[in-house]
């Protein structure tokens, strides 16, 4: 094989004019068109372009500069998730064969159904609002990571549902119904449900990412998918602990990529939201010739007066405070079922080990008011 075709030289070493280092970059960079959109939205923000930097308040010099630390593109995404799906199914199958569910401590049984099952609604709401991010975020590198994160959340919502159906045995459907009722009516969930409702009406896509991945999830996911693992095993339930391990693998990735995005945004000193055009090679672009004639001129929208750090600081302060308020009442659910686990230290650890260091890397101060 080596003797043939040695003179069959490619005409270029790189497939594209823009530099790419790996397969992920080959199929991710410059996917989204940035200029010459044909029409404006008919209903939602009718003055905005299809891909418009004004869908967020923060400004970034180069929206294409973001990289997913795991470099997930479709192929690597479905292959890694297939492995997880196999693990989850094998886990449930083994649990059934070993009749583990029958040996679980009754208090834990009641608690875990009341705690984990309603979280399917929490995961699902996050997935729904991430689809808003997928539509309006700037550039494929960012929205691609949001797409897979949303799909993971749908997956976790289904894993939790499957777990509840298996765990509750013949009363699986009732368990889901009951959990929905708790989510809607129980006081322990009131603030969390309300938090997710407010996420669902948050318009700025970067703010959505802050609300989900810098506030509620670092706290609640640590409680649900890490902190309770040992307690679960103590109560004779290794199944939930193992499921949580698989979930936390997804959760760690969503934290990693959003943290690097927040850092990219916060440390960007760009003052004009139109500067990104330079990074695309459109620095001489005079703007769309239609601007000011048949369409309004986007550049007449006033620029933000706050820096990215100040904007993100406002968002982080608002959402972290609310997240603490949303998770705190879950203590009563633990207490009610006699599960000894204190929520407050979990929140403090989430702050100390993840949220504050991430904010520090971003150079952001927050005022937490609870």
């Amino acid at each position: 094989m080596t003797m043939q075709a040695r003179n069959l030289q490619p005409i270029r070493q790189q497939p594209w004019d823009w530099a790419t280092k790996n397969e992920y970059e080959e199929v991710t960079l410059r996917e989204q068109p940035y200029i010459h959109g044909h029409y404006r939205n008919k209903y939602y923000k009718p003055d905005y372009d299809i891909y418009d930097p004004r869908y967020t308040r923060v400004r970034v010099r180069d929206w294409e500069a973001f990289r997913d630390p795991k470099k997930l593109w479709y192929q690597t995404y479905v292959m890694t998730r297939k492995k997880m799906a196999d693990e989850v199914e094998a886990l449930f199958e083994r649990a059934g064969k070993l009749a583990i569910y029958e040996r679980v401590d009754p208090a834990w049984r009641k608690f875990s159904l009341a705690f984990y099952t309603p979280l399917r609604h929490y995961e699902y709401a996050g997935a729904v609002q991430l689809q808003h991010v997928v539509r309006y975020a700037m550039g494929c590198p960012i929205e691609q990571a949001a797409t897979y994160t949303a799909f993971d959340k749908q997956g976790r919502a289904q894993w939790l549902s499957t777990w509840a159906l298996e765990f509750a045995g013949g009363e699986g459907l009732q368990a889901l119904q009951h959990a929905r009722q708790l989510w809607l009516e129980d006081e322990s969930y009131d603030k969390l449900r309300s938090y997710m409702e407010h996420v669902l009406v948050t318009d700025d896509w970067v703010e959505v990412l802050v609300a989900l991945h810098l506030a509620i999830e670092p706290i609640l996911d640590r409680l649900a998918y890490e902190q309770l693992n040992a307690i679960s095993i103590e109560h004779g339930d290794p199944v939930l602990a193992e499921l949580a391990l698989i979930c936390s693998e997804q959760v760690q990735w969503q934290e990693n990529w959003t943290a690097s995005l927040f850092q990219l945004i916060a440390t960007d000193p760009t003052t004009s939201r139109w500067d990104y055009l330079k990074s695309l090679g459109y620095e001489d672009w005079p703007g769309d010739y239609r601007w000011g004639r048949t369409l309004s001129n986007p550049k007449s929208t006033p620029e933000e007066t706050l820096t990215n750090q100040e904007i993100m600081s406002q968002w982080a302060s608002k959402w972290i405070s609310r997240a603490i308020q949303a998770v705190t009442p879950l203590q009563s659910l633990l207490d009610r079922h006699g599960i000894s686990c204190a929520v407050e230290p979990v929140m403090e650890r989430a702050m100390a080990s993840y949220i504050l260091p991430t904010l520090e890397k971003c150079g952001i101060d927050v005022k937490i008011s609870v």
Binding site: P10, G37, V78, Y124, A127, A157, L176
Partner: protein
């Protein structure tokens, strides 16, 4: 435990996950839900068109990815590109690369928009699966072109080409039209009109031609993509029936969308007709026969008969698309030949076997109306190039150069006065789309106007820089450097040798 049956279990996993909000107004969560006049009474009773859970999705899809990328790997390692029967095929693949691939990406963003804004869980999980599928299609297609781009012209700045070239305004404006519509219209536009009515004709003939000419990689792209489309088509049908059955007031609105998007889809597929009839040297089927099979029989005569009971009639101007089937690929190829000096995929001089095949498949039209045009290139391949800029249709953005299929010597171009300006449309179909939403279509971006206003710089070099390719990458295939390179690649591999057997 008592096992639930598949359907109950699937419902349990995917339904009742959303709730009526207590602390915010539901209209704030779904601000577009009433904008289009669609009425939804009890969406809960709708079944998912294609029951597929997260686990099933990632398992099935990773298996498909594994198979496809193994074929791709073998094709790349063994220089499959040099082994096809004729390199002009790659000019057609380039058209697909820079026009269809960005459309897949646009569909990805669009499906997320639909799923976010339509609060029907049965539809939402399917739209979200599709949003992820569309990203798959964009990326497996890109992998094909990334390898091609190392050996052939025209693809190395495909994103810029997509943003700035006149040709790309055709597919780009189509998806931009859907992206800027309300969510229900976008659903009907893409899931029903595009996926259900037209994707078979997009992928099946082209994938068969790919296999016939020896492009195993592209054949696999086509088949693998089409295996997802069956889910998308099921979604389109379910969505259409749901809107029609939910409320009678939806029917005229849906009819209007079907009218608009049938013709919009039909026109965006114009170039596909040339990829079926012209670019492959071994053809699987003609556009005319494919259109009869996939659109006339299956959709217009099949499906729309079933929709009659809802009060839905076949889409406006469908007769025109049937009349045009004997002209479509030839008139479109003529347009491509007129402007091939400013396009990233080349035209080519027809060969004797091409004339034979086209005359045989199109006995009523090809020799009489079109062959004389193509024969003008026998002496000089640029003989038919049009100087200057084309006048393009204000809706589909294809140059207004279609003949009236009833009187093929006459132009079909239509003129409309709106807001003190004359607008040109390529056909009565596009004219009526313009007239229904003139305020939308007067926003279209016309590259020629940008060029004249100086946006593309002052010289031709500046303009090509903007287009993302050079003049050497354009023009005619058999006189191009791509063709000569391909011959050299074959010589390197010994494929030029002929082995006699005695």
């Amino acid at each position: 435990m008592a096992k639930l049956n598949v359907s109950t279990r699937y419902k349990a996993l995917t339904r009742d996950l959303m709730w009526d909000p207590k602390d915010v107004n539901i209209k704030e969560i779904y601000p577009l839900i009433e904008a289009e006049g669609i009425h939804i009474r009890d969406p809960k009773r709708w079944e998912d068109p294609f029951r597929m859970t997260f686990n099933q999705y990632v398992k099935i899809q990773s298996e498909k990815e594994h198979l496809h990328h193994a074929i791709r790997g073998a094709f790349e390692a063994n220089h499959g590109h040099a082994r096809i029967v004729d390199s002009r095929w790659f000019e057609g693949v380039k058209a697909f690369a820079v026009a269809v691939q960005p459309a897949e990406y646009a569909a990805h963003r669009l499906m997320a928009y639909i799923g976010r804004n339509i609060p029907i869980e049965a539809i939402r999980f399917a739209t979200f699966n599709q949003a992820v599928d569309e990203l798959r299609h964009a990326q497996i297609e890109i992998k094909h072109y990334a390898h091609m781009s190392r050996y052939y012209d025209g693809l190395h700045a495909y994103s810029k080409t997509n943003e700035n070239l006149w040709f790309n305004t055709v597919p780009k404006s189509f998806f931009d039209d859907a992206l800027t519509s309300g969510p229900f219209e976008a659903l009907i536009a893409i899931s029903f009109s595009f996926e259900y009515v037209f994707t078979n004709i997009l992928f099946l003939p082209f994938a068969s031609s790919a296999a016939a000419v020896g492009d195993e990689h592209f054949a696999s792209v086509g088949k693998s993509v089409q295996s997802d489309e069956s889910r998308h088509m099921a979604l389109g049908m379910a969505a259409l029936k749901m809107l029609l059955e939910e409320d009678d007031r939806n029917i005229p609105i849906v009819q209007r969308w079907l009218d608009k998007w049938f013709w919009r889809c039909y026109r965006v597929f114009a170039v596909i007709s040339t990829l079926v009839d012209y670019y492959p040297r071994i053809r699987a089927i003609s556009w005319k026969k494919a259109f009869e099979m996939y659109v006339e029989d299956q959709v217009l005569n099949g499906l729309f008969k079933d929709l009659f009971k809802y009060g839905i009639r076949p889409p406006r101007h469908f007769e025109d698309s049937m009349k045009e089937k004997e002209h479509y690929s030839h008139a479109t190829m003529r347009i491509l030949d007129h402007y091939k000096h400013a396009n990233y995929f080349r035209g080519f001089r027809l060969q004797p076997d091409d004339y034979d095949w086209l005359s045989r498949e199109y006995p009523n039209t090809f020799e009489r109306y079109y062959a004389p045009f193509f024969r003008k290139m026998d002496d000089h391949v640029m003989a038919v190039a049009s100087p200057g800029l084309p006048a393009v249709c204000a809706v589909c953005q294809i140059p207004c150069e279609y003949p009236n299929p009833d009187r093929p010597q006459e132009s079909w171009t239509q003129y409309v006065e709106y807001n003190g300006k004359t607008h040109m449309l390529c056909s009565p179909g596009c004219r009526d789309i313009f007239l229904a939403e003139p305020e939308k279509y007067m926003q279209w971006w016309w590259p020629a106007e940008s060029y004249l206003s100086g946006e593309f710089g002052s010289s031709l070099e500046d303009m090509f820089e903007y287009f993302g390719f050079t003049p050497e990458e354009a023009n005619e295939h058999y006189s191009s450097r791509d063709y000569h390179r391909w011959i050299r690649y074959r010589e390197e591999l010994g494929l030029d040798k002929r082995f006699e057997t005695v």
